[in-house]
Amino acid sequence: MSSIINKIKLYIPLIKSLQTGLLLATGIAGYLSAHAPVHIPTLIAMSISLFLAISGSTIMNMWYDHDIDAKMKRTHKRPAASGELSRNEVFWVGVVVSALGIGWAVLIAPLYGLVVFAGWFFDVVVYTLWLKRVTCWSIVWGGISGAMPILSGRVLAVNQIDLIGILLALSILFWIPTHTLTFSLKFREDYSNAGVPTFPSTYGEAFTRAVIALSSVLAAVAIGWAAILIGLSAGYLRLIAVLTAGLLLLAFATFRVQSERANFSLFRYASLYMLSAMIILAMQAF
């Protein structure tokens, strides 16, 4: 029994629980954004299948990138990088978890399953296996992958890919660079040592900061547009407008001040902003 518990303890860091939790929250918000009567069994099934699919893709990412992770201070303690788990074991755990998640998603609804699979495919195959070591633009595909959970939730609720779903996906797609590019600025040396091309190493810090500021503005535009189309009440729209004003202010400051502190402030605010937006979208359903 204790060996199983120990094994599970080793597996937990494989799924980047915070990131997985955030992506799962976007999926739930996407589902609730339809404002249809909430079908609890469907919501639970969606949450579990999405959790497994996201976790599976993260584990596959850890499996493939173990060599990169081992070279970076930030990631060298990850189980696959440190050797706590064998590469082979991580691979099979990833395959099984991914298959369970995607398989279950397809059984729930084929279109939902297709979107979940697309997220997994873009993350594992296009981003991790193909582009991450080749070009800094790989983050676009990582972003598209990250945008799939919210789209899948929306698709499950409305049974089609609609404009609102696309806007919600775009909001996540544009939010992700504030996260990844901020980290690539902060851990620039780490990425350089590992041989991973990043925006700062390719285009310089000023351009990277401009991209971060611009992408947060675009994320705000997408979420605002989606909120209007969803038909949020005037009160919630006012709240989103206020939070967006704060985001625009920080984006402007980041562009103007050009410091790591301004950058990190924007990154933290943008994360809070996105979490708040998801909660607002979800709350309107009740």
Binding site: S233, Y236, R238, V242, G246, R268
Partner: protein
């Protein structure tokens, strides 16, 4: 000075209250007060979030003096719009000119007392308005008695605003440590009074 976990919790509660007020607390009002209160509580909300994210160092920014005038100015404009109909235009003009004056006097270097006097006026008049107007209209029976709680919130925002502004101008009324220690609690208390006053008044 490092911000404690308790400070962050107090600020988070303040942010949640401000968000509540923006979403449901001002829904039934006319357009102009809704805009004014949304700006007031919105600035409060964003300021709270930035304090949580950046800590007290956020207060070192020169923009704090300008931003901290927005809350009393817009709050007072909303109150005047609702309860002193004959002063609407003149108060709105005062708010706009006052805000422009603070922005101007803080944007260029001045060695005289003009920036301090400007801040005292632009904080003082709205502070008195927010403090006195709700108490007067509730005493007159034009609103429920509990609307006077907004006045207490006004007194607190006046104190907080002046403490912060004079701290930033380099002529602190109280030591910086003391101001920072009481600020999160003061902001929360002020917001509680505002929200309760609007809800039950």
């Amino acid at each position: 000075m490092r911000m404690s976990v308790l400070d962050r919790i107090l600020l988070l509660l303040m942010c949640l209250l401000a968000a509540y007020q923006i979403v449901v607390g001002i829904d039934a009002m006319d357009e102009a007060p809704i805009i004014a209160y949304t700006i007031a509580f919105g600035v409060l909300l964003i300021a709270g979030l930035l304090l949580i994210i950046l800590g007290f160092e956020a207060l070192d920014s020169p923009i704090v003096v300008v931003v901290s005038t927005i809350i009393p100015l817009s709050m007072a404009t909303g109150l005047v719009w609702q309860h002193l109909a004959s002063f609407r235009t003149s108060y709105l003009l005062f708010a706009l000119i006052g805000f422009a004056a603070v922005t101007f006097t803080r944007s260029i270097r001045m060695d005289n007392l003009l920036p301090v006097i400007t801040i005292a006026i632009v904080h003082g008049i709205p502070g008195l308005t927010i403090f006195l107007l709700p108490i007067i209209v509730s005493l007159r029976g034009e609103t429920e008695p509990l609307f006077s709680l907004v006045g207490i919130g006004g007194a607190l925002i006046g104190i907080g605003g002046l403490l912060l502004s004079f701290l930033r101008t380099g002529r602190p009324i109280l030591p910086k440590e003391t101001v920072l220690r009481v600020l999160p609690g003061l902001l929360l208390l002020m917001t509680v009074f505002f929200v309760a006053g609007f809800k039950y008044g």
